[in-house]
């Protein structure tokens, strides 16, 4: 069982590293999904099967899908990000290294074994609707707020795009094109 933990941990770390370093966006997202699966396995080894399942369903399933949709929607293939020299990593790497060293140093003072007992879905749901019932309601309200915000922002984005393209169309008709569009009709697509 502990071997499984260390393998999954290694996979998770490696995948996360690749997420952060890939140039291509979709590859990065897929590596992120791999990392989430690895973490789900780690949850399982830690005796939290319910959470592992959730991780796979909600995190990898739902949130990652959102990411992929977004990438597709924004049609990023055309604008590949400029090459960032690897030296850009030095600063953050140093800062993060120091942070990691401090945390690890703090943690390695003395080790405490895990309880070993598995905490199943029933225990979690009892706790969930026991003392944490209020928190659950709050969580749901949070999700509702996010929903409203996301639709509002995204919707506005949609309107502007259409309004902007309509505006440009009228300008073209009257011949007062802007410097970048000297009155020639531009085919739709990404602005």
């Amino acid at each position: 069982m502990t071997i499984l933990f260390y393998i999954a941990a290694a996979v998770a770390v490696l995948a996360t590293l690749l997420v952060v370093t890939r140039r291509n966006l979709v590859h990065a997202l897929l590596y992120l999904v791999v990392s989430l699966f690895a973490v789900a396995v780690v949850f399982y080894t830690l005796g939290a099967p319910f959470v592992a399942a959730l991780e796979v369903i909600v995190y990898a399933g739902a949130i990652m899908m959102l990411f992929v949709f977004a990438v597709m929607l924004l049609n990023l293939q055309a604008a590949s990000p400029p090459r960032v020299p690897w030296t850009a990593w030095v600063g953050p790497a140093v800062l993060v290294g120091v942070l990691l060293a401090e945390v690890i140093y703090a943690l390695t003072i003395e080790t405490q074994p895990l309880a070993g007992a598995e905490v199943g879905a029933t225990a979690v749901s009892e706790a969930l609707y026991g003392p944490y019932v209020l928190a659950v309601e709050l969580a749901s309200m949070l999700l509702l707020a996010a929903l409203v915000a996301a639709t509002h922002v995204a919707a506005r984005a949609r309107e502007d795009q259409t309004a902007a393209s309509v505006e440009r169309g009228r300008a073209v008709l009257h011949g007062q094109g802007t410097a970048s569009e000297p009155g020639v009709i531009v085919e739709e697509g990404d602005a």
């Binding site: 600063g91 953050p92 800062l95 942070l99 401090e102 703090a106």
Partner: protein, 632 residues
């Protein structure tokens, strides 16, 4: 008749006020009448009052007239009051008589000047201030006159104010005298604090009673008064302003810088004799100032090219004689020399004025020459004046007064041989430079044409002054000639008589001392004739020789005092003023504002607007906190 005393200064004051108010509406004639008229009336009043004072002296040989209390603060009650005694009679008579003659002379001399009314306005204000100075019954009122004459000398030196150089000379005069006045006002504070009053007679009596002879406070007070006198009477070290004061019109030089204002210092010391009698060291200081000044000024006068500057240095020298006399407690000798000097020096300056005007403003004596035939009247009167200056024996008043002064330097208790030798040398040099002027200006071939002839209003004053330069000498014949010395008896009522108690007193009073002076004077006249008539070219060559030329230049510049003061006093102040003109403290205040701005600029640079830098800073914060938690 004494009750008319207040009228003497009041008339010129009235003249001044009238001239100021009616300035525009008065023509030249009107201004002349008011200007000269007011001083003339003042002269009449002075003659009446002083006449009755001399004929029937009031009780206590002095009369005090209080107009109103000037101020009454914490027991200090100076009054606007006039005090007349023998000393002030001499001064008042000289001021008014010489003053009136000079006013008459100016009506013609300044005829073509567009500031005619303004000239007489200032002149009247001057006469008023001078009369207040000599008649004041307390030192504060004296100080009012003192500064008033300083102001008028500034206004009149800078009269032709179109030329900045004249204005500079006026400013220089006022500032240098003001330095002296600071010493005087400090003296006033000391006297007020120590003795409680500034009224001269009670002050002197209180000083005699409360101060021990040669006590430090007496010496300090006397020295401060000497400081004031040195400033106003252009003695070393504050004499640099008088030669530059010649920038003013000639009547101004005659009245202010020869006859009256420059002798204010002599009057002040004469008036406060009891103080100086208490302070032996101060008297020594006075004598030293006198002897040093008379020698320095004498030698400087010897090399001057400008006619009026030569006369200015001679004035400094002659006042040096008066101060020397006061220094050796020959008070009356100083006053007598003042009297005689006023007449012949005014005569010389007026003569110089006519000469300069005749030669269309030519000042350099070596460009004059041969004027004896062209301006006979001026020649005769100028020569009489020069003779009096040189102390031509028996005939001129200068002889009697200078002989008395020189003998006091030997005869009195304070006198000593060095002072005597110095004054003899001074007399010799005086003879040289006075007759040098006569030979160079009136003899030899003419260099510039005579364009204007003086009319009666200029020549008459010259003749009157010439006559005075002769007869006033007979007021005090030396002991070995005759016992006729009415002036001495008259002055004894106010000043302590001269005690001939020095080691060589017998010789000083005898004909022997007089014979020495007669020898010196004749020798000087003959030598100057030789140097400047037959051997003139030789003299010029000698003066231009490499050895003598720097010395002559040094003397020409007034022994380098101007050069020294420019570097020691004027430049540092000018430099500091220029350096601090934007107010050093303002830099501090603006500095505070700048610090705030700098702080704002550096902090706002931190706001790069990029999210990643903020997160990095947050991360850095976490690292720090963890470090503290972990490491502690």
């Amino acid at each position: 008749m004494l009750s008319l005393l207040w009228l003497i200064p009041a008339l010129p004051a009235a003249g001044f006020v009238l001239l100021v108010l009616l300035n525009r509406r008065l023509g030249r004639a009107g201004a002349a009448w008011i200007g000269a008229g007011s001083v003339g009336l003042s002269m009449l009043a002075a003659l009446l009052v002083c006449g009755s004072f001399i004929v029937s002296p009031p009780a206590g040989d002095a009369c005090r007239q209080v107009l109103w209390t000037w101020m009454d603060v914490a027991g200090f009650t100076p009054a606007i009051g006039f005090y007349l005694d023998a000393v002030s009679v001499v001064w008042v008579l000289v001021i008014t008589v010489v003053g009136f003659l000079i006013h008459l002379y100016s009506t013609e001399h300044m005829e073509h000047d567009e500031g005619f009314t303004r000239f007489f306005t200032y002149l009247n204000l001057f006469v008023f201030s001078m009369l207040v100075l000599v008649l004041a019954d307390n030192l504060l009122l004296l100080y009012l006159g003192w500064e008033g004459v300083g102001l008028c000398s500034y206004l009149l030196i800078a009269f032709w104010q179109k030329d900045p150089q004249n204005v500079y000379s006026g400013r220089k005069a006022f500032i240098v005298t003001r330095v002296g006045d600071t010493a005087l006002i400090a003296g006033l504070f000391l006297l007020l604090t120590q003795l409680g009053t500034l009224e001269i007679q009670p002050l002197l009596r209180a000083a005699e009673q409360t101060w021990a002879p040669d006590s430090t406070v007496a010496v300090v007070a006397a020295l401060l008064i000497l400081g004031g006198a040195v400033g106003k009477s252009a003695q070393v070290p504050l004499q640099t302003w008088l030669p530059d004061a010649m920038a003013g019109p000639s009547p101004v030089s005659a009245l202010i810088h020869a006859a009256t204002m420059v002798t204010a210092g002599v009057y002040l010391i004469a008036r406060t004799t009891p103080l100086f009698e208490l302070a032996g060291d101060a008297r020594l200081a006075v004598a030293l100032v006198g002897i040093v000044t008379l020698l320095i000024a004498g030698f400087s006068a010897l090399v001057q090219h400008d006619l009026k500057r030569a006369l200015a240095y001679s004035t400094i020298s002659q006042i040096g004689y008066m101060i020397l006399a006061l220094g050796v407690s020959g008070w009356e000798a100083g006053v007598f020399h003042f009297g005689t000097h006023a007449f012949f020096k005014a005569l010389l300056f007026l003569g110089a004025g006519v000469v300069i005007e005749a030669l269309a403003g030519e000042h350099d004596i070596f460009k004059m020459g041969g004027l004896a035939r062209k301006l006979p009247a001026v020649f005769v009167t100028f020569t009489v004046g020069a003779a009096a200056l040189a102390a031509l024996p028996f005939v001129t008043n200068g002889f009697y007064s200078k002989d008395l002064v020189i003998s006091t330097t030997l005869g009195t208790a304070d006198g000593n041989v060095w002072l005597y030798v110095g004054s003899i040398l001074g007399a010799f040099v005086t003879t040289l430079y006075s007759f040098r002027l006569v030979w160079v200006v009136f003899f030899g071939e003419a260099h510039t044409e005579v364009t204007r002839r003086p009319r009666w209003r200029q020549t008459m004053p010259l003749w009157v002054l010439a006559v005075f330069s002769i007869i006033t000498g007979f007021l005090w014949l030396p002991a070995w000639i005759g016992a006729f010395h009415p002036l001495e008896d008259f002055l004894d009522t106010a000043l302590p008589p001269i005690e001939w108690t020095g080691r060589y007193a017998h010789f000083a009073e005898s004909a022997g001392a007089a014979f020495v002076i007669i020898l010196i004077v004749y020798g000087g006249i003959f030598l100057s004739y030789l140097l400047w008539v037959p051997w003139r070219r030789g003299t010029h060559a000698f003066a231009a020789s490499p050895v003598v030329r720097p010395l002559a230049a040094f003397w020409l510049g007034g022994w380098g005092f101007d050069w020294l003061y420019e570097r020691v006093f004027v430049r540092p102040v000018k430099w500091f003023a220029h350096w601090a003109r934007h107010d050093l403290v303002d830099y501090v205040v603006d500095g505070i504002a700048w610090v705030n701005l700098a702080g704002w600029r550096t902090l706002s640079a931190g706001q790069t607007g990029r999210l990643r830098s903020y997160v990095a800073v947050a991360g850095f914060g976490v690292v720090l906190v963890l470090a503290v938690v972990v490491l502690r």
